[in-house]
Amino acid sequence: MQVTRRQFFKICSAGLGGSSIAMLGYSPTAALAEVREFKLARATETRNMCPYCSVSCGVLAYSIGDKSKNAKAEIIHIEGDPDNPVNRGTLCPKGAGLLDMVHSPNRLKYPEVREPGSNEWKRISWDEAIARITKHMKADRDANFIEKNAEGTTVNRWNTFGFLASSAAANEPGYLTSKILRGLGVVALDTQARI
């Protein structure tokens, strides 16, 4: 599904030979004289979707690095996907700024905690974050879980813990979140779809 621009260029040049490209002034000699290759020529192109509004425009994300462990990919350019039948390559001012969203200085990079009464964040490990959060959750659930209501009906709910789910998440984590929360007995559950 993914064709790199470099492969694309190779395919093109095989078809065009030296004819039209040379006529436009891009002779092979001139190309060899370039200081470096075009960035997009060595980028990996990935089909993705703009996460903003519900037009869900198709985008092409270009990254350098082949996504393997020793060549971590970095996204260097995002543009509209001209094959997408809805946006046909166009992007609005929101979508056109996606690269700055990906590289926002306000991206969270590691787990943090702000302790009661404190005025600052403290960096913690994932392991510590998960351990501390689940300790809270279990204590809360064990203290407040309702197995039967006053009439004796089995209700199995935990309503002292609430969850607001993301509409920016994909269907798969959305479904998994729903499955897990119902499994825990959560009923105070809502989503951005409401507002």
């Binding site: 926002s104 984590p173 479904y175 897990i180």
Partner: protein
């Protein structure tokens, strides 16, 4: 959307009301321009502001925020009085002919059954008269005074052009001109498309705003047609998908109504949700509810879910009341919640009445933020100057912030507003130690499971037995999850007519929801997505944009739920004999042996027209509801004023204070006192979005912050003059709940309107700013908005409230 983005190009008339597609959905809006260019379609915009959409409209009319039902009820009156309706469609495909209980009444703004103390209705008289077999009775002549058609005509006869203009502020001649344009699409071969967004939903009458327009579309015969429909232009790229996965308390994945305390047993639960057909021979598709629910339980609990234990029905938590976001914050504010998590959600900025939200969060023991960005909510406890005046030392909430990936850093499917699910691929890892949402949820769940296995605790069964068949338990793959959502056969699924014929082999993915069973032999995480990952593979990943129909259906691009159907109710695009109403834009036709054409039929494929199986297969009636017995606030929409209104009374019911604002909208104790009156807050405010920003995300992106760096409010020239405000002045906008300061933009785009004999000014307030981000630090707009929501959806009333303004 009942239709889809590209289908907008097939319309004859686009009406944008309660939205501003040119600004909020620009790349979808271009299909309106395509329709204008290629089909000579017209565009009508009705909005309090002369928006970017209005700037390219053929006709624009202003309207007072919060008076849409008055306008649309007036359109209904116009169509019925002037006989501009699609008769065959209305008679056959709607409940116009159905007879209503003789006890049904509407009296000075209140429907029969109102209980003022509970602010709700006993709906027993809002029902069909039934015959001895339990079928609804009809009068095909449409003449009975108790048939829906006559009741509706009477109800809307009060919506005269004069009264409409008095309530909405829309000049009468503008209103009538729009009525005339709409009425032209009553011709069987003409269609109108309706594009709306939060400008309709974010009112205490939000659901009824939309319903009124749906009724108009039914009178005109525009539902199911190419270029027609009711099209909600929704929020996020996957807000539709997350709605479908049902991450809200009322429903389980696939809109399966969640159990409540009243549903004591599995049998009782299923029986209440499995309706009987209300007319002979109808498909009554919800009769399959047990198949959908039991298959969901197999996806959730695998082998633990058996016929004997009601497929683990008792493990599903039962609701004892409302748990929508406003209700959750109300509980939190009352100190009834211990913990809370926000996944990609910034409620401090996006919920109504910021002060109440901040106070509520401060009462929690723990708060977990799962987000790619440092949100305002994550720092609700931190003093950010005048924008967030709190004392951290007094706030005891322990706050965790977990870094999540963004769109480009995970694979998965997003479902667009047109119900088309499209797969996307991962382009790079997220920054630092960030993880995908599935991995984060799995980490929390697996640790809890370990704790319950080791230490025990309250009701561990549902936790220990939650089906977890993922190859890497800590990293459920999106492919595995979508396959689970789509569904598979656990045992051979056979043909009910011939048990020896195997339709789906054990272990295979099901080709669609029609193959789901209620006996535990199938598993399906969300029936409406059934078949999106069939034996043919991941259909959401399809990228064949070919369009032989020319209608833009692209049936091999992605997967559109349900069943890859692109236009809902498409059977209604053909007449009773199965011939398309518009032969130039045929969606479906009866070929003599089956339904076929340019879409997946929304009909049993071999239902011959003379069987009279009607197109609205999800309704037990088989037809669409002009009269809806299930709404909380009335079977016919009625105009009610916003909870904060510039008027002293509802001009439709000047003598009845109970009918001023929606009598069935929920108001929490204490919140009634937080509403302001026109005496102190004389101006109508409405919030909106800008083309350069998306909600509260893009204030973190440099280029968007450069394009729109600072909070502003928009006021008309007349009000600016009255208040001595110049463009560029800093102004303070106050509501009864707090204030914001911002830069004034003085504009011709908002005009003062004559409403009920007085001049009403409107102030427009974009919502994108806050104290976290790379834009200039600013106030949160929702400091101003009231904590009250729509009677049906509990969506807060962000679009019409009262403020005052002065130079800061």
């Amino acid at each position: 959307m009942t239709n889809h983005w590209v289908d907008i190009k097939n319309t004859d008339l686009a009406i944008i009301m309660g939205g501003n597609a040119a600004e909020a959905h620009p790349c979808g809006f271009k299909w309106v321009i395509e329709a204008k260019k290629e089909r000579k379609a017209k565009l009508v915009v009705v909005d309090p502001r002369f928006t970017r959409s209005a700037s390219v409209a053929d006709f624009y009319a202003p309207i007072r925020a919060g008076s849409d039902i008055a306008f649309l009820g007036g359109v209904i009156n116009y169509l019925m009085t002037n006989d501009k309706i699609h008769h065959d469609y209305v008679k056959n495909y709607t409940n116009a002919a159905f007879l209503i209980d003789e006890g049904f009444k509407f009296d000075d703004g209140l429907f029969s059954g109102y209980n003022a103390e509970k602010r709700s209705y006993d709906k027993s008289t809002w029902s069909y008269q039934k015959d001895k077999d339990g079928y609804a009775m009809v009068d095909e002549t449409l003449q009975s005074p108790n048939c829906v058609f006559q009741l509706m005509k009477k109800h809307y006869s009060r919506y005269t052009p004069e009264l409409v203009s008095k309530v909405t502020g829309t000049p009468k001649e503008d209103f009538l001109r729009i009525c005339g344009m709409i009425a032209e699409t009553a011709a069987p071969n003409k269609t109108m498309t309706v594009l709306y967004a939060l400008g309709w939903t974010e009112h205490t009458v939000g659901s009824q705003n939309i319903r009124t327009m749906a009724m108009i579309q039914l009178l005109l015969g525009n539902m199911g047609m190419a270029g027609g429909g009711i099209n909600a232009l929704r929020g996020h790229a996957n807000v539709q998908g997350i709605t479908d996965m049902c991450l809200y308390s009322e429903v389980l994945p696939g809109y399966l109504s969640a159990p409540t305390d009243a549903d004591k047993t599995h049998e009782e639960y299923l029986a209440k949700r499995t309706p009987k057909a209300l007319r002979p021979g109808q498909m009554n598709f919800p009769q399959n509810f047990p198949k959908w629910f039991n298959s969901l339980m197999k996806a959730f609990y695998g082998n633990a879910a058996t016929k004997e234990n009601g497929f683990c029905y008792d493990w599903v938590p039962k609701k004892d009341g409302a748990y929508d976001a406003m209700d959750i914050f109300e509980r939190m504010h009352q100190g009834k919640m211990t913990g809370f998590a926000c996944q990609g959600f910034n409620p401090l900025a996006s919920m109504a009445n910021k002060r109440k939200i901040g106070d509520a969060l401060a009462k929690l023991k723990y708060l977990v933020i799962i987000d790619p960005l440092a949100t305002d909510t994550s720092e609700f406890w931190k003093h950010h100057g005048e924008f967030n005046e709190v004392d951290a030392s007094k706030i005891q909430t322990e706050v965790f912030r977990l870094p999540a990936n963004l769109f480009a850093e995970d694979a998965g499917s997003f479902t667009n507003s047109g119900r088309v699910a499209q797969w996307h691929w991962k382009a790079a890892d997220g920054p630092g130690e960030s993880k995908g949402d599935s991995e984060i949820m799995a980490a929390l769940f697996l640790r809890l499971k370990e704790l319950y296995a080791k230490d025990g605790g309250k009701f561990p069964d549902a936790i220990l037995n939650l089906a977890w068949p993922y190859r890497q338990p800590a990293k459920p793959a999106p492919e595995e999850l979508l396959m689970e959502i789509s569904g598979k056969a656990l045992a051979d699924v056979t043909d009910p007519a011939d048990k020896t014929k195997v339709l789906v082999k054990a272990g295979d993915q099901v080709p669609g929801f029609a193959l789901l069973r209620d006996d535990g032999s199938t598993s399906c995480g969300n029936w409406i997505y059934g078949g999106c990952w069939s034996q043919a593979g991941n259909l959401t990943a399809r990228r064949d944009a070919s369009d032989p129909s020319g209608l833009g259906q692209t049936l091999n691009w992605g997967f559109s739920w349900p069943a890859n159907r692109r236009i809902l109710y498409n059977r209604a695009s053909a007449d009773m004999a199965g011939k398309p109403w518009d032969p130039k834009r045929p969606v479906l036709r009866w070929t003599g042996t089956a339904w076929g054409g340019n879409d997946i039929p929304d009909m049993r494929p071999n239902a011959a027209p003379d069987e009279k199986v009607m197109p609205f297969i999800m309704a037990p009636e088989g037809v669409a509801r002009l009269f809806s017995p299930i709404m909380a606030d009335g079977p016919f929409p009625e105009h009610y004023e916003p909870f904060e209104s510039p008027l002293d009374s509802n001009p439709f019911h000047p003598g009845n204070a109970k009918a001023k604002s929606n009598p069935a909208a929920r108001v929490f104790k204490g919140d009634m006192d937080s509403f302001g009156t026109a005496k102190d807050f004389p101006y109508v405010a409405t919030t909106y979005r800008l083309v350069e920003h998306f909600h509260f995300w893009t204030k973190h992106a440099h280029i968007n912050a450069v394009l729109q760096p600072e909070h502003f409010v928009e006021i008309g020239e007349a009000l600016a003059k009255e208040k001595g405000i110049q463009a560029g002045d800093r102004v303070k906008v106050r509501s009864n709940r707090g204030h914001i300061k911002a830069v004034a933009v003085v504009t011709k785009r908002i005009r003062a309107l004559e409403v009920d004999g007085k001049k009403v000014h409107t102030i427009g307030i974009p919502l994108h700013f806050g104290f976290k981000g790379v834009t200039k630090p600013g106030y949160i707009t929702n400091t101003l908005t009231p904590f009250v929501g729509d009677a049906n959806s509990q969506t807060p009333e962000y679009k019409a409230f009262l403020v005052n303004i002065e130079k800061a």
